[in-house]
Every structure is written in structure tokens, then in C-alpha cells.
């Protein structure tokens, strides 16, 4: 049983500001059902004063996730956007009288949702920076930016702390090295900026214990015999269709789907629908699809998602 503070229990049992905010002009969605927690933060901002006049949340998650979401709304109502953006995850945890270390990621989720909602209000695209290797933890869809923010805001110096705060590295463990690299880089920067004592900074060489990857098998990547190159376009499209058909049960299981839109040279355009849409794991899924297609066709290619009804 977790040792939750009285305030966490209170905000879980009697959450304030839960439900849909009909007049919201900023909405931030973070997390995913596949990852075990997700938060939708809805804010109403007065365009003249920039003051957040109302905020509500909907949360899928554990007791501390719900309490953290509710606490976040209490913290930001009545504040201007600029004032609200100063709030970080530690403020949420403090407001609740502290959270168990393993649950700090709940407060980080609140912090990330606030940034997403503000971006949405301002009309900026809130894109999790998942392009080209920036995604560190594939299991939970955690990118480098989120890890960096958590490390900076909370002066984290150990890999286990990063997992507690962001969930990154908490499943298969294959990202341990990348995670360590980000931690080392950000810690070095913090030392440079005078925010962290050099002897406290993370040093991968004297990290306690070696973290072993638990499994290296991606659920989508199954070995298949490579097909010799030199395929006609029709053959390629047929092979791609076949591969997608094989993967379909995986999408369906999670309530989504994926269809082939077009093929141009080495670029394969696909459209996700259902639960795959907007899932934080979309980029993981993409990578899995790409790996599978490359195996099947025996040649490099790039899978590109297209928005519904635009292509």
C-alpha cells in the first residue's frame, strides 16, 4: 500500500475541477491508455487579461495521478498564463504534501499537460519531439525534451530518479544507455550553470550497478526472410499491403487501424485511425511498421503518416 498524504487522499476521493470544461479554449492531452495514465487538461483563458479563469481535468490513472491533476487545476486557476508556466511538477507535489518517489511521474504528467494546454491556447503545435531518435523510451513514449525538463526542474542525478519522474526506462530497459547519456549531458550543463555541485552530478562510470536490458524484442518486429531487391512497384505495394494486413490484429487489439495511402519511391504513406490517432506511442508504432516493411521488402524505406482526408 502506498503511503499517500492526507491531501493526496483528499484530492483523490473528492477531486476538485473534474469533468469537461465546455468553454475551454486550451486543451492539453498527455499520456496514453497503453501507458497506464493519461491526462486531459482543459483551460479557459481570458484573451484580454491572459488569466486562466477556469480549468478542469479528465484523468485515466491511479490515485496520485487523479490527485495531481486536480491539484494542478487548483494551482493555475486565477493565474495568468505567464504565472502558471512557472509552476513545475515539484509545486504540484508540494501542494499535495509530497508524493511517493515512484509516483513523481504523476506530477510530471500534470506539468507536461499544462504546457500542452497553453501551447494549444496559443495556437502553437504541441508536438512531442519524437523525430529522429529524440524519443528515448519507446515503451512509454518519453522524449528527450521531457526527460531534460524533469531533470532540470527536479535536479535529478540518478537514472532511477528519472524513471520515477518520467517512467522512462521503467519497462524493457533497452533505453538505459540513452537515458544515462541525456542525464549526463543535462547534469553537466547544470554544473556549468552553477545549479549543481560537480560531485553530485551523474557520472555513468560510477553509476551503482549496471542496468541490464530486460528484453530486446520489439513486439512488432518479427523476423522475416528478406526479399531480394529489384521489385516492381506492383510487387512492392502488394508486399506492403500484406505486411500491414499481418500487423492489423496488433492495431485492432488496441482499438486502432492503419491503411496504406500511397507509395512514392522509398516513401510509404499510411493513415492511422481509431485509437492509434494521437497516441503517444504512434511514433513507436510507426517505427515498428517501418522495420517490418523493410524486412519484408529487403530495402530501406521511410513510413510517413498522413492526416485523415488530406492526402
Amino acid at each position: 500500500m502506498w503511503e499517500y498524504s492526507e491531501k493526496v487522499k483528499d484530492y483523490f476521493f473528492n477531486p476538485k475541477n473534474s469533468g469537461v470544461l465546455e468553454q475551454a479554449n486550451g486543451v492539453g492531452d498527455v499520456g496514453a491508455i497503453a501507458c497506464g495514465d493519461a491526462l486531459r487538461l482543459m483551460i479557459k483563458v481570458d484573451p484580454v487579461t491572459d488569466i486562466i479563469t477556469a480549468a478542469r481535468f479528465q484523468t485515466f490513472g491511479c490515485g496520485s495521478a487523479i490527485a495531481s491533476s486536480s491539484a494542478l487545476t487548483e494551482l493555475i486557476i486565477g493565474k495568468t498564463i505567464a504565472e502558471a508556466l512557472v509552476i513545475n511538477n515539484q509545486d504540484i507535489a508540494d501542494f499535495l504534501g509530497g508524493l511517493p518517489p515512484e509516483k513523481m511521474h504523476c506530477s510530471v504528467m500534470g506539468y507536461e499537460a499544462l504546457r500542452a494546454a497553453v501551447a494549444n491556447y496559443k495556437g502553437e503545435a504541441w508536438v512531442d519531439d519524437h523525430e529522429d531518435g529524440a524519443l528515448i523510451c519507446k515503451c512509454f513514449g518519453v522524449d528527450e525534451g521531457m526527460i531534460e525538463r524533469a531533470v532540470r526542474n527536479n535536479l535529478l542525478t540518478m537514472a532511477d530518479q528519472v524513471t520515477n519522474f518520467t517512467k522512462a526506462g521503467g519497462s524493457c530497459g533497452t533505453c538505459a544507455e540513452k537515458l544515462d547519456a541525456v542525464l549526463a549531458r543535462v547534469n553537466a550543463a547544470l554544473v556549468e550553470e552553477g545549479k549543481l555541485a560537480p560531485e553530485e552530478a551523474f557520472d555513468p562510470m560510477r553509476a551503482p550497478g549496471v542496468r541490464m536490458p530486460k528484453s530486446k524484442v520489439s513486439p512488432l518486429a518479427k523476423p522475416a526472410k528478406p526479399v531480394p531487391a529489384k521489385l516492381t512497384n506492383v510487387q512492392r505495394i502488394r508486399l506492403i499491403e500484406e505486411s500491414l494486413e499481418e500487423l492489423r490484429p496488433v492495431f485492432r487489439r488496441d482499438g486502432g487501424d492503419c491503411e496504406l495511402v500511397d507509395v512514392e519511391d522509398d516513401r510509404v504513406f499510411v493513415r492511422f485511425s481509431g485509437a492509434c490517432l494521437g497516441c503517444q506511442l504512434e511514433s513507436v508504432t510507426l517505427q515498428g511498421v517501418q522495420e517490418r516493411l523493410m524486412e519484408k521488402l529487403g530495402q530501406p524505406l521511410r513510413v510517413i503518416p498522413v492526416q485523415a482526408h488530406t492526402h
Binding site: W2, K9, F12, F13, P15, S18, G19, V20, D29, I33, A34, G36, D37, A38, L39, R40, Q58, T59, F60, G61, C62, G63, A65, I66, E102, K103, C139, F140, T163, K167, G170, S171, M212, R252, R253, D254, G255, G256, D257, G274, A275
Partner: protein, 400 residues
């Protein structure tokens, strides 16, 4: 208001008669069974009686086939490590993806440190073992096959009698972790080919910290704990006499109540389960409805998370459990539900209710009063519950 305990697969209340049987062994009969005087002798004979009680409960041919241990985990560890030593030239283990950590953690450790090859056999969406894959994994390299008799999370029963025969055809030993079945369903090892079987005291209204490993006569056993000659040299250390006496008493009582588990407890479980599945929209039964422990019901509630459910149930005075990530400190849903390929929409919201002879019909009433409100409450907070009403979610549960 009295609390309702529905977590008997985690542990059970120690029967009062068990406590009474144990107490004299702390202050009156405190002797060491190995001693050559009356104090030792009276403890020695009490241990023998306890061994015979267990022998009756699991249908062993000889009482000396039972080795007392500190519990189910030690029994599991002993069985596997012993097999790797005694089965010369064999360096593989066949097990399942849904075993208890007492087996899985050890297997992972053996893979990493000793280069042992472990085959993890999968299950289908109802938690039923892929017996063909099990058969295929067996080979002249298999030292031991180990498959739990019943899964602790879903209650699904595995065909261990048949699996033992298959293991023997490959010349391998067969072990079963039976901690969840002993005392719940009839067990008669002498009419099976099972070589080794683990059981635990606290799952059958006995004390914690005691269990036993059944070792069929003729099966060689290398001790895990070395030292004195206790347990015929198979488990060193002065016997935990009060706990062993308690386990013996618990075994006697379990045999007495075995029929009740199959009738009264099963009827309560069925009523609880049917009513929840009927009254709560998008709730799914986890496990094999056709082959299950009589006391266990695992129900997944879509679009909400298990820890939150448990906290609200706890506030209503109801104790249950979940394989949810958030309760265990792990970040992923239970390995059992993942092996069953339970959809993500449901895997995080699975709750296990496990009853025992201590439960009464009024307990079931209390659960049924509380559950629908708790689920509705959390779903009103969940963004996915609202979305699923508008969006087309392609997920059609095949059983419910």
C-alpha cells in the same frame, strides 16, 4: 462497519484452531526435535503428525515425500535448482509466461548467470496454456518442466497431470507450483506423474513462513539450504516447529472444508461475478471460465485504472487486489494479463476478487453494492470513457 476481505489468493486469515494448535509449541513444547530427550521427542512426534496431515491433503504415498520449507518460494527455488544439479547433461527449463515471480525471477537469473536456456510457453486470451508449444519445447536437454497448477491472478487451472506425462516422455522432471490449489481443489499426487510440488501454509489458513515441497519417492533432491541433517538432509535448519504444527492443523481443516470450497465458496464467487458482469458495462472476465479455481474472479473494467479502483473499494471497506502497474511499483500491467494479450483499454483496470471459506453471502452483497458506484465514479473522471462513447472503438470482447 466490518471490513470485507476478498484477497484470499494473497493470504488468508489463520484459522483460530491453527493458532491454538501452535501456541503450546512456543512455551511448553519448545524442544529441538533433534535432541535426545523428552523435550525433543515430543516435538519430533508432532512434526511427524503434521507431515501425515499434509500427506493426506495432497494424497502423497509416503509422509517422508514431504519436505518442510519456509514457504512456497523456497520450495519452488529448491525444486528447480535441484533438478539442474541432478539431471546431468540437461541444461534447459520449460515453464510458462504466467508463472509466479518465485519461478520467473529465478529463471531469469539462471539465464543471465548460468547460461541456462529457459522456454517460456505462452497462453491464449483466456489464459490457457499452449500445450503444443509446451510439447515442442521439451527435449533431451530439458532438466525440468515447471508449470503452476493454477494461476494466482486469474485462477485458470493448467492440465498439470497431462503436462507431467509429457515431461516424462522427454526424460525431464516435472514440478508444479500448487500454492493456489492446495486446499481449494482436490489434489492426489500419487495418481499423477508429478515429481515435485510446492505448497504454502498461509494460502490455506495456516501461518506465514512455512510451506512444503513434495518430492516423489525416488526423485533425487539436492538441498538448497545446507547444514544439519533435518528433513533427512534435504532442508537444513532447526525445524520451525510451531509453524509446521500450524501447517499440519491447517491441512486437516482444509481437507475437512474441501467440499465447501467447491460448493458454497464457488456459489458465492459465481454470484459476485455474474452480478458485476451484468451490472457494469464493459467489464470483462479474465481467465478461463471453464477451468478455474472455485474462489477466484478476475474482472477487468475498461478505461479506468486498477489502483484507483482499489483505493475507492478500500474506502468502502472492501479489500481486493489488482495486477495493475501502479499498485506494484512496476510501471506495466501484470505479466499475466500481458501474456494473455488483454487489450490495453482493459489491462490496467483488472481487479481480482478471491474468496475463501471465511467469506459470507453478506460480503458478496457489500461488494455488489459498492462496485458499480466506484466504477461509474472513476469513469466519470476518465477521458477515455467519454471518448469511447463517441469514437468507434474497434474492440469486441470475445467473452464476458
Amino acid at each position: 462497519m466490518k471490513s470485507v476481505y476478498c484477497d484470499n489468493n494473497a493470504t488468508t486469515r489463520v484459522d483460530k484452531a491453527v493458532v491454538e494448535a501452535m501456541l503450546p509449541f512456543f512455551t511448553e513444547h519448545f524442544g529441538n526435535a533433534s535432541s535426545m530427550h523428552a523435550f525433543g521427542a515430543e516435538v519430533g512426534s508432532a512434526l511427524k503428525l503434521a507431515r501425515q496431515s499434509l500427506q493426506r491433503l495432497i494424497g502423497a504415498e509416503h509422509d517422508h515425500e514431504l519436505v518442510f520449507t519456509s514457504g512456497g518460494t523456497e520450495a519452488d527455488n529448491t525444486a528447480i535448482l535441484s533438478a539442474l544439479e541432478t539431471q546431468v547433461g540437461r541444461n534447459e527449463i520449460v515453464t510458462t509466461k504466467v508463472e509466479h515471480p518465485a519461478i520467473l525471477s529465478l529463471c531469469k537469473h539462471l539465464e543471465e548467470t548460468r547460461g541456462v536456456k529457459v522456454h517460456y510457453i505462452g497462453v491464449d486470451s483466456r489464459g490457457r496454456l499452449d500445450v503444443d508449444a509446451f510439447k515442442r519445447a521439451l527435449s533431451p536437454r530439458t532438466a525440468i518442466a515447471t508449470v503452476m497448477w493454477a494461476n494466482n491472478e486469474t485462477g485458470t487451472l493448467f492440465p498439470v497431470e497431462r503436462l507431467a506425462v509429457l515431461a516424462h516422455e522427454a526424460g525431464a522432471l516435472f514440478h508444479t507450483d500448487a500454492v493456489q490449489v492446495v486446499g481449494k481443489i482436490p489434489v492426489d499426487v500419487k495418481n499423477t506423474e508429478i515429481d515435485l510440488l510446492s505448497l504454502s501454509g498461509h494460502k490455506l489458513h495456516g501461518p506465514k513462513g512455512v510451506g512444503a515441497l513434495y518430492v516423489r519417492r525416488g526423485v533425487r533432491l539436492r538441498p538448497l539450504v545446507r547444514g544439519g541433517h533435518q528433513e533427512r538432509g534435504r532442508r537444513a535448519g532447526t525445524e520451525n516447529a510451531p509453524a509446521i504444527v500450524g501447517l499440519g492443523k491447517a491441512a486437516d481443516l482444509a481437507l475437512l472444508h474441501l467440499n465447501e470450497e467447491q460448493t458454497r465458496v464457488r456459489a458465492m464467487r459465481d454470484r459476485l461475478e455474474h452480478a458485476i458482469l451484468r451490472s457494469v458495462d464493459r467489464s470483462l472476465l479474465m481467465g478461463d471460465p471453464d477451468a478455474r479455481l472455485p474462489n477466484t474472479s478476475n474482472i477487468a473494467f475498461e478505461f479506468i485504472e486498477g489502483e484507483a479502483i482499489l483505493l475507492l473499494l478500500n474506502r468502502a471497506g472492501i479489500a481486493a487486489s489488482s495486477g495493475s502497474a501502479c499498485t506494484s511499483g512496476s510501471l506495466e500491467p501484470s505479466h499475466v494479463l500481458r501474456a494473455m494479450n488483454v487489450p490495453y483499454t482493459a489491462a490496467h483496470g483488472a481487479i481480482r476478487f478471491s474468496l475463501s471459506r471465511d467469506n459470507e453471502e453478506s460480503d458478496v452483497d457489500r461488494v455488489l453494492e459498492a462496485v458499480p458506484g466506484v466504477i461509474a465514479n472513476l469513469r466519470s473522471l476518465s477521458p477515455f470513457w467519454q471518448d469511447q462513447k463517441t469514437a468507434a472503438v474497434e474492440f469486441n470482447p470475445t467473452y464476458a
